[in-house]
């Protein structure tokens, strides 16, 4: 069984225990690459043994919805169970669906998660394309002006509830913008988020950026900050979790912790010391002209 399944099931369990939910009304997961280890195992067995002497276990567990399915199996949960696999927007897609289910009244709580694993093969194949930097472990890597990032993996789960007890944060917006590099388009989405929540840019206490240290890729984040949030406090978080398709889920977990505990962990490298308590956090992530914006507020 691949680590992604173990990580996913473990994180889901912690999450449900934390929220005191026994059986959620829905289980929705996002994963960019799915069950890589099991997929690679089965594929390598096919190739190395010329399609002979194969056993089904890793094939069975290679299916993209295995994490959601295993959680349902362990809980005997017959409810809605979806898995989104849309590249770096997999977690965001799952988030959009979760909110829709709550709004429809089809669920009063939803177990939402983002999961992805790193494997030796995935690492070495992507090394050939110059994806990774070596020997960097701290936030300094944001300032080194070079190519590549640090590989990551993880599972982060959330219980979303329409009538929460003791919540971490309120979700004010989850927006996705596709296939554009226009700052005008980004501005339109930001204006929509602000007007529907009666906010202005200055009300955002912290911008959490998906910058990953790759000099060229990070330009989009510095432009975003410069164009729309010049005066706001900002931080990046991928020095803590590495880069992976659903790392935004880690970002949302971090933001939720900051909002509930009312303190910012030392590992988060801020542009300046906050003057007041952080109560509104906007996460921004981007890849290949696609953008996601998630706005959270303290409760």
């Amino acid at each position: 069984m691949g680590r992604v399944i173990k990580m996913g099931v473990a994180a889901a369990n912690y999450c449900l225990r934390d929220a005191k939910v026994e059986n959620p009304d829905a289980i929705i997961t996002g994963t960019g690459m799915g069950c890589l280890e099991d997929t690679e195992n089965f594929l390598c067995n096919i190739l190395n043994n010329k399609e002979q002497f194969l056993t089904p276990t890793s094939f069975i567990q290679s299916t993209h919805n295995t994490v959601g399915a295993q959680i349902a199996l362990l809980l005997t949960c017959n409810n809605y169970n979806f898995t989104y696999v849309h590249r770096d927007l997999s977690f965001e897609s799952a988030f959009v669906d979760s909110i829709l289910l709550l709004k429809e009244g089809e669920a009063s709580n939803v177990l939402l998660g983002g999961v992805d694993e790193m494997t030796p093969n995935h690492y070495s194949i992507h090394s050939k394309k110059g994806f990774w930097r070596k020997g960097v472990t701290t936030s300094e890597f944001f300032y080194e002006n070079s190519k590549g990032t640090i590989p990551g993996e993880g599972a982060a789960f959330f219980t979303l509830s329409s009538s929460p007890k003791d919540p971490y944060a309120a979700v004010l917006a989850v927006e996705i913008l596709f296939n554009t590099n226009s700052q005008e388009d980004l501005k339109k989405i930001l204006d929509r988020i602000f007007s529907s929540n009666n906010l202005e840019a200055k009300d955002i206490d912290l911008i959490l950026l998906g910058a990953n240290g790759d000099q060229e890729g990070d330009r989009v984040y510095s432009e975003f900050k410069e164009n729309f949030f010049k005066e706001n406090n900002a931080a990046a978080y991928k020095n803590l979790c590495g880069e992976y398709s659903t790392s935004t889920a880690f970002g949302v977990w971090l933001a939720s912790q900051i909002l509930k505990k009312k303190e910012i962990p030392a590992g988060v490298s801020l542009s300046r010391t906050p003057e007041k308590e952080v109560s509104k956090i906007l996460l921004y992530n981007s890849y290949n002209g696609n953008h996601s914006l998630i706005l959270l507020s303290s409760c």
């Binding site: 089965f42 399609e51 069975i60 017959n78 898995t83 596709f178």
Partner: protein, 402 residues
């Protein structure tokens, strides 16, 4: 949320035809697409029958009008062909701007290319031009390419819940339209045959060496297939305002989990039962009002018994007419919900029930027999379409005549 969601366009490519008309012709002339493997390099070539789209990637690229100097997978090409047919048949290319989404589904995405190149990927010294295909592996890639071919960018996403994937994309599309998040959605799914899936299902020992025989007592398993099926769904207001012909309504949908086993279905068909029951509730229909079920009916001993049990639980002794069109197309995995949504709509439009070919003898456990000959002139008001997948993922859709 009283917005009606209607179907205004259909698109399909499968082993029995490159477009809706060809598929319809094969279905009504009882011609299945099952045969020997032609396009894949595998040791199972002359042993395991499949339901293949009989064109090379090069031919498909020509049909899809795709520039082959760019990295592309068979999955993307099949998807473009079917999604574009749906898009054009609804006349969306001529329509003023409405919020349009593309929701696709696939079970293995770009695996077909990955399995050919994987050993080269792993060789640290080999950094040739083939490396450009690396980005075509994941499931979301085909969705981005197809959406790009159609010029859709208001919303897109990809669902992968094994063999219920594309039924789920239709369900999500319908919900997003009902909620007012989008005006219209091209929804469905695509999968291409791969050595990976053939070996996977082969190790599970659920591939029939003969043509599959859904619901027959002698059934030995499924035949794998490939293809793509998409429907255009929109709010009734948008369709009416644009004067587009309404083919049917998506009136019910549900997704549940069997929570019994990673790959096997429960003996009592609990997940399937709950999905069908809930879909009827959403559609506001009683069991008696379903005129036809396009069953999941893969032909595996386990699925058909479990699904049949669930149908008997829900419909009692009055199980509606039903058939599995997988006896023509094979099991197209992440595409089957989309393809069968197209077929279900064709059933309503043409008052026709496509038969379950190769069926002869009822299974011992259940008193259930599918339709075995083509039925025409049947007034079909509501169709239930089932799609069930690994991980206990069970979906049911209800299509209604307008």
């Amino acid at each position: 949320m009283s917005r009606k969601v209607v179907i205004t366009g259909l698109g399909v490519i499968s082993s029995i035809g490159n477009n809706v008309q060809e598929n319809y012709n094969s279905l009504t002339s009882l011609k299945p697409g099952i045969g020997h493997i032609q396009n894949l390099d595998t040791v199972h070539k002359n042993i395991i029958p499949v339901s293949e789209v009989k064109f090379s990637d090069k031919d498909l690229a020509h049909m899809a009008e795709f520039d082959m100097s760019r990295p592309v997978t068979r999955t993307t090409l099949l998807g473009i062909i079917a999604a574009r047919e749906a898009y054009h048949s609804a006349g969306l290319d001529k329509v003023a701007k409405l919020r349009t989404g593309f929701i696709s589904a696939t079970s293995v995405g770009g695996m077909g290319k990955t399995e050919m190149l994987y050993q080269k990927y792993l060789d640290p010294a080999d950094n040739g031009d083939f490396m450009k295909f690396l980005e075509t592996h994941d499931c979301g890639e085909s969705t981005e390419r197809i959406a790009e071919a159609l010029g859709i960018k208001d919303y897109m996403t990809t669902i992968s819940t094994a063999c219920s994937s594309s039924a789920n994309s239709i369900m999500l599309g319908a919900r997003m339209i009902k909620a007012g998040m989008l005006d219209r959605v091209i929804a469905g799914g695509v999968d291409s045959l791969t050595v990976f899936t053939i070996n996977g299902f082969n190790t599970l020992m659920i591939l029939d060496k003969e043509h599959c025989r859904p619901f027959d007592d002698s059934r030995q398993g499924l035949n794998l297939g490939e293809g793509a099926g998409y429907i255009v769904i929109e709010s009734e207001e948008a369709a009416k305002a644009g004067n587009r012909p309404i083919l049917a309504e998506v009136s019910g949908y549900a997704n549940t989990n069997d929570a019994y086993h990673q790959t096997a279905s429960s003996p009592d068909g609990q997940g399937a039962f709950l999905a069908m029951k809930k879909a009827l509730e959403v559609a506001g229909l009683t069991a008696e009002e379903i005129d036809y079920i396009n069953v999941h009916g893969t032909g595996t001993p386990n699925n058909d018994l479990s699904e049949g049990t669930a149908m008997t639980r829900l419909f009692g002794t009055q199980v509606p007419k039903f058939s599995s069109t997988k006896s023509y197309t094979g099991h197209t995995l992440g595409a089957c919900g989309g393809i069968e949504a197209v077929y279900s709509t064709l059933s309503i439009m043409n008052k026709t029930i496509f038969p379950n070919i190769n069926f002869k003898v009822k299974m011992k456990e259940l008193d259930l027999a599918p339709e075995t000959s083509l039925l025409s002139g049947v007034d079909i008001k509501s169709v239930l379409s089932n799609s069930f997948g690994f991980g206990g993922n069970n979906s049911a859709l209800v299509f209604k005549k307008i």
